[in-house]
Amino acid sequence: MSTLAIVGMGLTAILIVGEIDLSFASLYGLSAMMLAVSWLKWGWPLWAGFLLCIVVAVLTGLFNAFFTAVVKIPSFIATLGSSTLIFGFTLLVSRAQRFSTSSPPAGEVVRKGEISFFRQISNLHLPFNIPMQVVWMIVVALIAWLILGKSLFGFRLKAIGGNPAAARFARLPVTKYKFLAFIMGAVCAALAAVFDFSFIGSVQPDGGQVLLFPIFAAVVIGGASLSGGRGSVSGTLLGALLLAVIANGLALNAAGAFAQQMFLGVVTIAAVVLDQVTRSWRKS
């Protein structure tokens, strides 16, 4: 759930401004891999690896935004392209290998202290058995809520996504805000990847690929509009919660585990239909 919610926060920003992002799943894989490779294989200190991981995310956001907001390619195409590019790069960097904190590549000495600290990021024991991931999710959601729900940036983002033409006439900083939205989306994906890497203790190059649809589903169920101008942090949080609860329920019985995919499709379509119906009902 926390993965859905954290990556979903970033996607919410991108959908609000009226764009779409298909590259976050690949970026999720790449950013964790950049950390793993630089830290475990190249022997960089942990903080440098983390910095590299965030830099890669920001660059990806800039790349997506450049082709969308400056070159003016539809973001669907631009991010579909960057998604494939990123995935290919991940395979290249990792040589299609899996990395694990419990068995770093032979010949490299990784400081034990760093490894145990890294594990603690998502596995720290808290009172009442609260999972550390939930804490991170709440922290990210709070920051996202301040940015999207309370700041001038969030207010204008909604306006730009709602009516780009009017936004340009009103001299709102359309291009700049699109850049910021894409960067926010990318950084959220990278953060989620780091938290998950810490939790699981290993990364594989195709790690994020299965997340693409569930995250879209969570955000759309949460009320974000694919045509822009609508979406909220609380909605996305609820969407992620709903998906996680039902998926968990289904996973508890054998048939349900296989039906999970079908269920995901049905719920997403139902959410969009519901949205459409209520909107046309409100209009009349």
């Binding site: 700041s151 001038l152 306006a159 009017a166 006439f169 709102l172 101008g229």
Partner: protein
């Protein structure tokens, strides 16, 4: 051009055509009769209902009520779609298919491939001079050839009525002449031809009869000697004087007392929509740029707002004492409310959306109390009638929506407010309110630059009128020199009529 002689005389008769979009009425009982062999011209100001009329005849929209008869028979939308052909400003065909394919698409002979051209198709292609282009992809051809394909497509479907909707606005002089030649040959063959255009001189030259559509109905019909560009221009601008007759003539200010604010010199549009335009804006005055579509008036207002691509020659200079004026800004509001308001935001949010630092706290967060206060203040100051600030903007009436659009700009007090047709599609009482809001803003030292197509409005609100025709400002009039809207309209009409050599009046 037509191959089969018409069995019955062709005609189109429209009676009591009404079209409403929600609260706004686009057509309010339009009556029209045209017979075959005749070219009928249709003119009207923006928002008069011309394009709605074209859309209904083309079958793109359904009329709310009213009747359409073609050749004396009831015209059914969909079934009889082929009988009325529309030649668009931008052809509505399949740019990815060839000319020949465009002719037969929708009427394919076999399920596989598109079959062969019939003799009729070939005859039409050669009649329209399209034979050499028949295997070329349509999108690669010029607009004029695409329009000709549109005509050819209608001919093979044996259409009876040809509606030319601003057909030559994207054509060169020669191409226009060719197009009009085709238009005449269609009429000579007995078809009904309707020409909708803003270009009055052309309309006078080609049409046998012209109707002026205003406020969704036919206001005036002109033919024979009455049909001149001047009379048409007068009909267009001297509109609905009953709306404004009871308005007291405002006190005019003395032009000499107003300090200069912005001087525009030798401004030229990159695509030559206007050339070497110079004028001066003063504090405290409302300046109206008047001109028909294509005269450059709209583009000049947009250019001052920084929205058009200009040639590097010329420029705009702010007066030296204006440095404190809200950063010397020109704020812009389009005529189209769907492009000036944010449909996904509330009334209050729309009122403050142009705000920046004034609603931002130190950490970039919105100060929501301040937002409410500012929105409430604007709502009262600009007399916006709304249930609450949280009401969705779309549920307001057209006039109130327009007030919100204008208020969102004026409350920030820009140095110059550039407004396109500020009262288009707005009821009379809202019109007056909008005028007085503009006046208040100017009394506070602002300057409003309006683009208008109607002259009665100009007399009500403006101090000075710049008349544009053919990409140039042909004259400047002082509203104070006129006693009535009619007088001012008379003066501008002859200039707007598009005489080839506009003489500078004084």
């Amino acid at each position: 051009m037509s191959t089969t002689a018409p069995a019955t005389p062709r005609s189109v008769s429209v009676s009591g055509l009404v079209k409403r979009y929600g609260d706004t009425t686009a057509l309010s009982g339009l009556d029209l009769d045209v017979s075959g062999g005749e070219i009928l011209g249709i003119v009207g100001p923006n928002g008069a209902g011309k394009s709605t009329f074209v859309k209904i005849l083309a079958g793109d929209e359904v009329a709310t009520s009213g009747e359409i008869h073609v050749n004396g028979q009831d015209w059914r939308r969909g079934v009889d779609a082929d009988r009325i052909a529309v030649v668009h400003q931008e052809p509505q065909l399949f740019p990815n298919l060839t000319v020949a394919e465009n002719l037969v698409v929708g009427r394919e002979i076999s399920t596989f491939g598109w079959g062969k051209l019939r003799d009729l198709d070939k005859k039409v292609l050669s009649d329209t001079g399209l034979l050499p282009y028949m295997n070329r992809t349509l999108g690669d051809l010029s607009i004029s050839l695409q329009q000709r394909t549109e005509i050819a497509r209608a001919l093979v479907r044996s259409a009876d009525v040809f509606l030319f909707d601003e057909p030559n606005s994207a054509l060169t002089e020669d191409e226009s002449e060719q197009l009009f030649a085709y238009m005449h040959s269609l009429a000579d063959a007995g078809s009904v031809v309707i020409l909708v255009t803003h270009r009055l001189a052309e309309l006078v030259r080609h049409a046998d009869r012209a109707v002026v559509i205003i406020d969704g109905r036919c206001r005036r019909e002109l033919s024979g000697a009455d049909l001149t560009a001047e009379t048409l221009a007068r009909e267009l601008v001297v509109r609905s004087s009953d709306e404004t007759a009871d308005e007291s003539v405002r006190e005019r200010r003395d032009a000499g007392e107003m300090p200069s604010l912005l001087s525009v010199s030798e401004l030229s549009h990159q695509q030559d929509k206007f050339r070497s335009v110079s004028f001066e804006l003063h504090r405290g005055e409302v300046v109206a740029l008047v001109g028909v579509e294509g005269s450059g008036a709209r583009e000049i207002v947009r250019a001052v707002s920084g929205l058009e691509h200009l040639r590097p020659t010329g420029g705009m200079t702010w007066a030296a004492d204006s440095s404190a004026d809200s950063n010397r800004t020109v704020a812009f509001v389009t005529a189209d409310r769907s492009d000036s308001l944010f449909g996904n935001l509330s009334v209050g949010e729309n009122l403050v959306i142009r705000s920046g630092d004034d609603i931002k706290s130190r950490f970039g967060l919105v100060r929501s109390k301040e937002v409410r206060r500012l929105a409430q203040q604007a709502r009262e100051e600009f007399a916006v009638k709304t249930a609450s600030l949280d009401t969705p903007i779309r549920s307001l009436s057209g006039g109130n929506q327009q007030k919100v659009a204008i208020a969102s700009v004026l409350r920030l007090f820009p140095a110059v407010a550039a407004l396109e047709e500020p009262t288009r599609g707005v009821d009379v009482s809202s019109k007056r309110e909008i005028y007085s809001l503009l006046r208040q803003y100017c009394d506070g030292g602002g300057c409003a630059l309006l683009f208008c197509t109607e002259d009665s409005e100009v007399f009500d609100v403006a101090d000075r009128v710049l008349v544009a025709a053919r990409g140039q400002i042909v004259t400047e009039l002082n509203c104070a020199d006129f006693d009535s809207a009619e007088g001012l309209a008379e003066a501008t009409a002859s200039l707007m009529g598009g005489s080839a050599t506009p003489a500078a009046a004084d």
